[in-house]
Symmetry: C2
Subunit: 389 residues, 2 copies
């Protein structure tokens, strides 16, 4: 070990690596704020577009500012035709997150370059990426179902327009509002793994397309944005509310975790879970089919009950991913697109964090201890032992 | 500030965030080792394929193992046709790193999926990515010049095959060897920014395609892999060796840095610079045109001279990017493809680090202090002040 630096937890748990003006996660009291506004106020009162303005420009917008932003978003939704063609020529079995990451990365190819290798990384490029993300997802959702993509409308919100592009039908008010609330709740969460990843990428002075691509790459894992898909798979496995307790006992008995339960930052229930749960409940009532919502409720109750018996000192609560599953399922979305929907919300936070990083940059380049063999002589090819593969 | 964690340097400079068996950077004495083998021994004695084996499988290969690995690499070089078509339909002005990142990400779409959203992240997938990276670069290099891509040959080394795919001609031995040495030298470098980025991505249990895509995104910035392109732009600006000193005085006088000089980890000259310099010198003699090499030499000497006068207590030496510029320029490569060539070497280290991370994983998820406004009441849209954009 040649490194002589400060040694910290290798998951950086509890290690403060920077600062931000954008959001604050107060895990002990279960409070999440965006620039000082409590998510409990924002979820029922603000739209996703207002949150985009808050994160990118520092304040909630006036009516004029909001109109202006909505116009800019709606005029930037269309994708370059070659990228849609690329999706058409891709195997229908391709995973939606792979497609979203690849096509989002490909937007850079169609963007003007400021100087060699550097696109303009500003709020307008951020808005372009925010605007286009749901278009990519909806287009792939249709292409994989052998349907033609539907062009975005410029008179709808991000949430309503996405649902329209998926089905070709105007969504009900309650559906658009449920998705809008989801996007508000998912918009930012301090230095989560994908946001930190975006900041690491931006810290080399890479541009916003590169940094968003890195964030998309990092979101997919089931310890992060992939957890909602995994939570939905759990709902599928459980199958009905009355099977929740036996499922939980089996899973915990095998040492497995219940996907969507627990969060590194929160010691109480994730403040986003309550709002998502309420929206999932409303939606299921509207649809007249509360299956997913009921299974999720039963699963959370069973988890709490069984954990209280087995680990009375340990509290594990539903996180944001847990009620995402019934909510998005009740909007008609397939489980393997949930992580993509997460990206359509978090892109607001990612881009604001990237601009914050680029605005006062320092290369993020840590050290590692070396724990391999000590320095030794080179061994010519004729004298080497066979490798135990 | 609600965070109560350990506060560290926000660039993580000198902060040890993990361990590795793969490589060791000893910045004070200027030593770089891969699994205990000194780069000074490896650069003249080992090929890139041997380094791939060393990094992925833990040992330098026997002759049989090397033959086996070379066969596997050579049979995995071809790209899916839709990805080549996607390049053909992209604007010729697209930046090569954007294309490389997008197409490498797109390989995931054509890869079998193990289970929902998870490709097999193993040494064979790593070899596939290592094999295909130069094919993507060479194909784009030709497409942007309005030429047809040339199919890879399966009887050539990674270095020789790349040069062949660019030009359609067999490279001279000295050219292939120079590029091979470059790839050996660039193959790994502990937790550099792109490798750390790959590990952050993998730590969410994202797969190897995602993690390599994140690394490619992070490499592009000019504080990292983009520096060699920037160093070449400097050679272009200097124009001739006799103008080096005045260039350095002007640049340092304006408070600018000389691209390719200095490295966060090294207090002496980067050990890779010596080998690259020697290869650049050999190549320039072979070509009978030593312009780029002579300018680089003059620039390094002038930097040392002027820095000794102005900052006698500060030592700044050439880093790996500095002699990359004359070397790759003398291989006929355009400056905006240098970062892509870096990726063709570093992919060996990235993939080994990703497998190391996945093999003993812990989510990398730091904290940040919040420095924005304190919690306050929600303001309805009619009562908001105009934002100062």
């Amino acid at each position: 070990m040649s490194s002589t630096g400060l040694i910290v937890d290798r998951g950086l748990e509890g290690v403060v690596v920077g600062s931000t003006l954008l959001s604050n996660v107060e895990g002990k009291i279960g409070r999440l704020t965006y620039r000082g506004y409590d998510i409990d106020d924002l979820a029922p009162n603000a739209t996703f577009e207002e949150i985009v303005h808050l994160l990118l420009f520092g304040q909630l917008p006036t009516s004029d500012e909001l109109d202006h932003l909505k116009r800019e978003i709606s005029t930037r939704r269309m994708l370059p035709e070659p990228l849609i063609d690329g999706m058409r020529r891709s195997p229908k079995t391709a995973w939606p997150m792979d497609v979203l990451r690849t096509v989002a990365s490909g937007l850079a190819l169609f963007s003007p370059v400021n100087r060699v290798g550097e696109h303009v990384s500003d709020a307008h490029t951020a808005i372009e990426l925010i605007a286009k993300m749901p278009t990519i997802l909806a287009a792939w959702d249709r292409i994989r179902r052998d349907l033609d993509p539907i062009e975005p409308r410029n008179d709808l919100s991000q949430a309503a327009n996405f649902l329209y592009m998926r089905t070709g039908k105007m969504p009900a008010e309650i559906e658009a509002k449920a998705l809008d609330t989801y996007l508000v709740l998912l918009a930012d969460h301090s230095y989560n793994a994908s946001t930190f990843s975006a900041r690491v990428t931006a810290s080399t002075r890479a541009d916003i397309y590169a940094a968003v691509t890195a964030a998309l790459a990092t979101l997919e894992g089931d310890l992060h944005g992939g957890a909602a898909s995994a939570a939905f798979n759990t709902l599928l496995s459980v199958g009905s509310p009355d099977r929740a307790e036996i499922y939980v006992r089996d899973a915990l008995g095998r040492g497995e975790r219940i996907m969507g339960m627990g969060h590194r930052e929160y010691r109480v229930r994730d403040p986003r879970a309550r709002h998502l749960e309420a929206k999932a409940k409303e939606l299921s009532a509207y649809r007249g089919d509360s299956r997913w919502y009921e299974i999720a409720r039963a699963l959370e109750e069973a988890s709490n009950k069984v954990l209280k018996e087995t680990k009375p000192d340990k509290s594990i609560y539903a996180n944001v991913d847990f009620y995402t599953a019934p909510l998005l399922a009740d909007l008609g979305m397939p489980g393997d697109e949930f992580t993509c929907m997460f990206a359509c919300g978090r892109i607001a936070g990612w881009s604001a964090h990237i601009l914050e990083q680029l605005g006062d940059n320092r290369l993020i380049r840590p050290q590692a201890t070396y724990e391999g063999p000590p320095p030794g002589p080179f061994v010519p090819i004729g004298s080497r032992p066979t490798t135990a593969h």
